[in-house]
Each structure stands twice: as structure tokens, then as C-alpha cells.
């Protein structure tokens, strides 16, 4: 039995910023470090964590049957084919949203805590019941955002709610960073984002076409394409989560030619 399980909520406010992709890749990366990890799909409305992990066809039971005591937890957990330290607890059908209460989420997470080092909760978008249920069961949180004004605004809203609910630490992942656009000031700079959100930056993830390819294949990037730019970012985030002191990836090196411009950009504000 794992004693100090870390239960981490992966949330964003806005949809489509990369929560599910981060959950899947972080799950793989942590599992590869030898940590038993459960990923819980709390996005009952738009479940797709199973798809990203390529486990869709192996789901028999879901969190719903566990809660209704129609099956045991270990019957519902789907173990990953290649990374046996990683298991998925699939979301039930969307109608669960009608009756699910914060206490139900807590019950599920308490069960997972008995077996795993990490529990990652893939949170639905928005700040309504789905988010609140998932938050109730979490201890700490990772807020995912993009360098866009609307995504940052929504992340800020979510951070306010996490703070009032005493979730901590709350750390930031800035996803879909494009050094070229940042250099041209067509995108918010890293400073612009951290300035507003005032959170420690757990990591950056570069924009990477490979993410889309891997999503379609149902193989998270970190599983097979460890050398792609985004995969390195995900691996670093997992290591930092474990307390390793890894310097932030320098987008300059990932996209040579923008060196000086980008460095200058890190110091300017365009808000």
C-alpha cells in the first residue's frame, strides 16, 4: 500500500488547451520512472483519455460500476500494455453527471490511493459541477494554459477557485509554446503569462505536430517518440514533479535562429 500518494488535479478552465494530452504523457512518464500511477478520467461528458492511451477497446467496467458496487476497483482498472505501472480508471457514461457528488469522487480517489503513488485526475473544462467534484478529491493541482489571452483568463479564474478550496501546491504548465510567434509578439510571452497568474512554472510544452500524430495513433508521445520536442518537455515535467531540478527548456534551442530575438522577448511585456 502506497502511503503518501499524490493526488493531482489537471485542470484549465478553457477546453482544448491540452489537459488530457498532459495527463496521458505525465502518466506514461511517471510510470516509466517506476512510480505506480493511476489516471482517472473525470471528464464524463467528453471522455477521451482512454483514446489517447489506446485503451478504448479494453474497457469493461468504469468508475460508475465501481461506485454502484457492481464491480471491484481492480476489475475496472485498465492496465497499460507497455507500461504496466500505469492504469486507467475510465469515466462512466455522461449521465453520471446527474447524480455524481463530490463525496463520490472522494470515495473513488481514496480507493486509488491505497494502490498507487500518483493519482492524476483529468478534469473537465469549465468551473461547474464536473470541475468541483474533481477538485473535491484532489490535494494539489496543475493548471494547463496556452499563451492566449482567453486561456490565461480562464486559468486565472480556476486558480482563484483552487485557492479558496485550499488546494496546494498549484503549479503551471504552459502548453503549445511557439517560439517563432512569441518572437514576433503575436503570442503572449512566458513572462506575460506568469506575471498574471503568479504561479510557479512547472514546465513549458512546445507546439509539436507529433502530438497530433500520436493522439490519432493512441500512443502518447512519451511512449515511443521520446525525441520529439514536446515529449522532452513532458518528461521534464514528470521529473520536476518528482523534485528533480531540471532547468526550463529553452525554446531558443528548440527553434534555432530566434536566439537573440527570443531572449529579448522574455524581458518585454506585450500586455
Amino acid at each position: 500500500m502506497a502511503t503518501d500518494t499524490r493526488v493531482i488535479l489537471i485542470c484549465s478552465g478553457k477546453g482544448g488547451v491540452g489537459k488530457t494530452t498532459l495527463t496521458a504523457n505525465l502518466g506514461i512518464s511517471l510510470a516509466r520512472q517506476g512510480l505506480t500511477t493511476a489516471v482517472l478520467d473525470a471528464d464524463f461528458g467528453l471522455r477521451n483519455l482512454d483514446l489517447l492511451l489506446g485503451l478504448e477497446n479494453r474497457i469493461v467496467y468504469t468508475a460508475q460500476e465501481v461506485l454502484e458496487e457492481e464491480c471491484r476497483l481492480d476489475q475496472a482498472l485498465v492496465k497499460h500494455k507497455q507500461e504496466s505501472n500505469l492504469s486507467l480508471l475510465p469515466a462512466g457514461n455522461p449521465r453520471m453527471l446527474d447524480w455524481l457528488k463530490p463525496d463520490d469522487m472522494k470515495r473513488i480517489v481514496d480507493m486509488l490511493k491505497e494502490q498507487f503513488n500518483y493519482v492524476l485526475i483529468d478534469c473537465p473544462a469549465g468551473v461547474e459541477d464536473g470541475f468541483k467534484n474533481a477538485m473535491a478529491a484532489s490535494q494539489e493541482a496543475i493548471v494547463v494554459t496556452n499563451p492566449e489571452v482567453s486561456a490565461v483568463r480562464d486559468a486565472d479564474r480556476v486558480i482563484g477557485l483552487l485557492n479558496t478550496n485550499a488546494i496546494k501546491p498549484v503549479q503551471l504548465v504552459l502548453n503549445r509554446v511557439r517560439p517563432k510567434m512569441m518572437a514576433n509578439q503575436e503570442m503572449l510571452s512566458i513572462d506575460d503569462v506568469t506575471d498574471i497568474l503568479a504561479l510557479p512554472l512547472l514546465g513549458l510544452v512546445l507546439e509539436d505536430e507529433q502530438v497530433i500524430v500520436s493522439t490519432n495513433r493512441g500512443e502518447p508521445l512519451t511512449l515511443n517518440s521520446v525525441n520529439s520536442p514536446a515529449a522532452k518537455c513532458y518528461l521534464n515535467i514528470a521529473k520536476r514533479l518528482q523534485g528533480e531540478d531540471i532547468p526550463l527548456i529553452d525554446p531558443v534551442e528548440e527553434s534555432s535562429g530566434f536566439g537573440a530575438k527570443f531572449r529579448k522577448l522574455m524581458q518585454t511585456k506585450i500586455f
Binding site: 468551473v127 489571452v149 483568463r153 480562464d154 486565472d156 479564474r157 486558480i159 482563484g160 485557492n163 498574471i196 503568479a198 511585456k269 500586455f271
Partner: protein, 215 residues
């Protein structure tokens, strides 16, 4: 081994002296080459006053390591000049508030500590004091003045029941929108000057923004 410099606190509000300036000069005469912290008590000092204190200290070979005060105006002034500043809320905070309020027209000050984030709304039926940033998407509103010890990037409405004397002050005033009484203005586009606190008020029917003068 004595790596922590000795700190001496100089209280510049002393009824023995006619003004804080005389008080400071006299007290510094007896101290040479020391690190001092200036306790401004409840004096309301402007940026000019703070600069003067710094230059008086220099003349007396003293190094100021910080200011403390129970007056928010003083703290905003010293903070905006980049000095280490500590806002003191006295134990008997009700009484302190009453003293400070004698000069103000409003009865209650609402304090909020921490960042006001997107979607959050804070309201006061008196003055409103925020120690932290007001982020884009957040809104703060008060019947009296609004003082933000941080950046104002969201929306602020001072004098929300019609008081057109109300002001909005912030270390950095770059809101989406400003309202004072019934007047509405959009925030300025140009970047703020670093290190100068700013204040918005109504002057001949227009909302104007100028560097904060507190006296």
C-alpha cells in the same frame, strides 16, 4: 560573524518636535553610519516626503533599509519608490482605522489580501484596500476610494453610489476600464512609468490619471 547589520528603528512621529522633518534630523544626529528603518507611524507622506527622508538620511551617513507605517498612503509612496515597505495593521485595528478615517469621508475600509483573479468581484461600502493585483477579468467596486497596492488590470469602480470625489490609486494603473461615480473611461494604452504609483480622479468632468500625490 556578525553578518546581519544592526537595525535601528527611528520613529519620526514624536510630539516633542514641531514636524517630522525636525524629529528625523535630530534623531539622526546622534546615530552615525547605521542601518535604519523609518517608522512613520500614522503620518501620511507623499513620494516627495519619502525622497526627502532618504536624502536627509544620506546627509547623516545613514542607510535606510525600509519604511513602516500604519498609513497606507505612506506605504504606497515608499513602495512606489522601490523602498522596502511594511504596512502595519495595529492590534487594535478598529481604533487605528477610526484615527485614519477622520480625514476621510467614509466609514468603513474593506481589506483584501492577495490577488483578485478573473471572475472575482470585491465590493466595499466604504473604502477598499487591496494588497495584491487586480487581474484582467476581475472587478472591484467601492462607495469610497479604491487603493490597490499592486497592479490594476481589471475593472475598478470608485464612488459607486455617486461620490465624484472618490479616487482610484494603484502601483500600476492599467485597467480595462475605470469608473468613478457615473464617469467611465478606458485604461491608458501606453506603458506605465516604472516606480511611480498612479491615481485616477475626476477633474473638470473627466477622469484623469496622474502620478500619485498623497499630500
Amino acid at each position: 560573524m556578525n553578518s546581519i547589520p544592526q537595525k535601528i528603528i527611528v520613529n519620526i512621529e514624536d510630539s516633542k518636535y514641531l514636524s517630522w522633518k525636525l524629529c528625523l534630523i535630530n534623531k539622526l544626529k546622534s546615530l552615525k553610519s547605521t542601518n535604519i528603518e523609518i517608522d512613520c507611524k500614522n503620518l501620511d507622506l507623499s513620494c516627495t516626503d519619502i525622497l526627502e527622508i532618504i536624502s536627509i538620511a544620506k546627509e547623516n551617513n545613514c542607510e535606510i533599509i525600509g519604511f513602516c507605517s500604519t498609513s497606507l498612503k505612506t506605504i504606497v509612496s515608499s513602495q512606489s519608490l522601490g523602498c522596502k515597505s511594511q504596512f502595519i495593521i495595529e492590534n487594535n485595528s478598529n481604533e487605528t482605522l477610526k484615527i485614519n478615517e477622520k480625514s476621510l469621508t467614509f466609514s468603513k475600509t474593506y481589506f483584501h489580501q492577495g490577488t483578485v483573479r478573473s471572475g472575482e468581484y470585491i465590493e466595499s461600502s466604504g473604502d477598499l484596500l487591496i494588497l495584491g493585483d487586480v487581474n484582467p477579468g476581475a472587478k472591484v467596486s467601492a462607495e469610497g476610494n479604491i487603493i490597490i497596492w499592486g497592479r490594476l488590470l481589471g475593472i475598478a469602480h470608485a464612488g459607486n453610489k455617486g461620490n465624484s470625489q472618490a479616487t482610484i490609486s494603484a502601483l500600476q494603473l492599467r485597467p480595462v476600464q475605470l469608473r468613478i461615480a457615473k464617469k467611465v473611461a478606458r485604461g491608458p494604452k501606453e506603458k506605465p512609468q516604472i516606480g511611480l504609483a498612479e491615481q485616477a480622479r475626476i477633474d473638470s468632468e473627466e477622469i484623469i490619471i496622474s502620478p500619485l500625490e498623497t499630500s
